[in-house]
Symmetry: C2
């Protein structure tokens, strides 16, 4: 990911998966990332889920309006409803604004 500008929006989505998967989660997650990438102001995404079921996805946006437009997308909203029905036990969402940012890499490039 390129460096993030100060003032960028980071949306932190922390979730716990259901213990049984009725199906569709992986496809929906891939589709949502592919769709988000085409939205104006999308700067990148980081995602990780551990074996305990806790996952964190952080999406980065140029502005609050850009993040809101993605939130309000009809298909995204429909998938969110599915998520509550099928895939998540709970989630929390934190909308934050970037104050500063830095990276380090073993290769010396300051992050990927």
């Amino acid at each position: 990911m390129k460096d993030l500008p100060v003032g960028a929006i980071a949306v932190i989505f922390v979730s716990m998966r259901t213990e049984t998967d009725p199906g569709g989660y992986a496809d929906a997650a891939t589709l949502m990332v592919e769709k988000a990438e085409k939205f104006p102001g999308f700067l990148g995404v980081d995602s990780a889920r551990g074996t305990d079921g806790v996952g964190i996805t952080v999406s980065y946006w140029a502005s609050q309006d850009d993040a809101l437009a993605w939130k309000r997308d009809a298909e995204h909203s429909a998938v969110r409803d599915l998520g509550r029905d099928r895939w998540y036990r709970w989630y929390r969402l934190h909308v934050t604004q970037l104050l500063r940012s830095y990276g380090w890499s073993a290769g010396g490039a300051g992050g990927r």
Copy 2:
């Protein structure tokens, strides 16, 4: 976690582990969380690491000064140096400030 107040600091740490572990990572990670919890202004932490080696840890703080005091802790700094030597291929760190926050839970409690 209790609700986060608007203006709280969220420090997003995204990292890629080395492929081989020379040892000590799990113990150091546990120790650092236990120590951070005792710092003034610590509000909580979320953490996940997937099988691809990418991990995300978000720590939440009441103020920038509280987050900085933790950053400057001598033991924390020493473990960070170890991390660069041993455990990480790269990392990025984003210091952000909370604009808004909400949760949902299948039980209706609005998140754990």
